[in-house]
């Protein structure tokens, strides 16, 4: 019988290895899998390449992972956020490298990685400093750059609900990058507030089909970054 449910977050991230590429869902705090990230901090894997739109806020979640020195490279579109104080230091010291990717190109590169598309053309970044190092091609009179698919070893994702098959529903704008990250990683780990029985999710409304998901962890009452920051929490 297929049952992708795992008892806890520690078990779910136990096999993350040094040097792994980790895609972390979330846009700001919406959809940020804080408990999985904290389990990853406890687990100890280091020299990680992390893909996320941002670099986390305060000293919890992704920011805490960066602060702990575990992230050697960030791939993101917007490493500055109001509450982002950790990344700048490590960036300036050279401890954490940055690959800056336009947001839509980032999303499409991840989708391509998951869909078996090794490369595609886009007009985004043509004529800008971010075109540097990219191959340019004119198609039907317009200039485009070649972008490569992006894949990862692990995806850490936060959903609203899942079943034992790994079918996932999200919550409003917390969906963001998670469905494409689930497609693009060898091992996709999802924390949800509720694991429901197989057959309870409407097949018409499933957002991430279970084929893209390897592990599901039930995490009741997940934390929100803004609440933790307001409470002055610093992880660990």
């Amino acid at each position: 019988m297929i049952n992708k449910q795992i008892a806890g977050t520690a078990e779910a991230v136990a096999d993350v290895f040094d040097g792994a590429t980790i895609m972390i869902g979330g846009f700001g705090e919406a959809g940020s899998p804080i408990e999985l990230i904290h389990a990853l901090i406890d687990q100890g894997a280091t020299n990680l390449t992390v893909v996320n739109n941002n670099t986390g806020g305060g000293e919890v979640g992704l920011a805490a992972l960066i602060k702990a020195g575990r992230v050697s490279k960030m791939i993101c579109s917007f490493p500055r956020t109001a509450n982002s104080t950790v990344f700048p230091k490590l960036y300036h010291s050279g401890a954490t490298k940055l690959e800056l990717v336009p947001q839509g190109t980032l999303a499409e590169r991840i989708r391509a990685g998951g869909a078996g598309i090794p490369a595609f053309y886009t007009a985004t970044s043509v004529g800008t400093p971010l075109e540097e190092g990219k191959e340019r091609r004119t198609i039907d009179g317009r200039d485009y750059v070649l972008e490569y698919g992006l894949t990862g070893d692990f995806a850490l994702i936060r959903g609203r609900m899942a079943d034992r098959y790994g079918n996932v529903l999200y919550n409003k704008t917390a969906r963001n990058f998670s469905p494409v990250m689930a497609m693009a990683c060898k091992t996709t780990i999802v924390q949800v507030e509720d694991v429901v029985d197989g057959g309870e999710l409407d097949p018409e409304a499933v957002v991430t089909p279970g084929i893209f998901v390897n592990r599901v962890v039930e995490q009741k009452n997940p934390a929100y970054e803004s609440v933790l920051i307001a409470d002055g929490v610093s992880y660990p």
């Binding site: 109001a82 980032l106 999303a107 985004t124």
Partner: protein
Amino acid sequence: MSNNQEAVGRTRDEMAERVALDIPDGSYVNLGIGIPELIAKYVPAGREFIYHTENGLLGMGPPPEEGGGEPELINAGKRRVTVVPGASYFHHADSFAMIRGGHLDLCVLGALQVAQNGDLANWSTGQPDAIPAVGGAMDLVAGVKQIFVVTQHCTKQGEPKLVEACTYPLTGLGVVNRVYTDLAVIEISERGFQLVELSPGVDFDYVQARTGAPLLAIE
């Protein structure tokens, strides 16, 4: 250029309201952070706009009451928003498919500089110590059918933002269609900056003096 900002021309809210007047009924619109966000307050009577926020929502409504809303219902500026009837959520790749595929009618953005050929610089001042951050700006200007810029005519230091050629790193080449400032509405034409409208109490010479390239008078 003078260093003091005279209290002439449109306020931020008046600029937003002025932009809204030019948006056709039924438009799908993406609003950037800052003054563009204010546009949502000024839908002219009888029109309906659908707001897109690139983090995955079509049918974005006004902000919730202070202290209300939900942490997982936010806009691209990471501020809490609401949804209107007819809304839909989708993932980031689908959201940027809307942008890149030319399905949005209009995007209104802020700017550091706009060149007379429509080049836009709005993501980086190019300072070597700054952490670069681009977000969705380059995707938006490359994909959306029309790009409006709404911005103060000059920087806080009084330097013109409408220039012959951008000196800051570009966001996109020849992408801007119109610029709405505190002083004027200006179209990017084949021949350069074409004045469309002066703000109340502002005259042509006043605007030209604060513009870094020739301003074409209304014919």
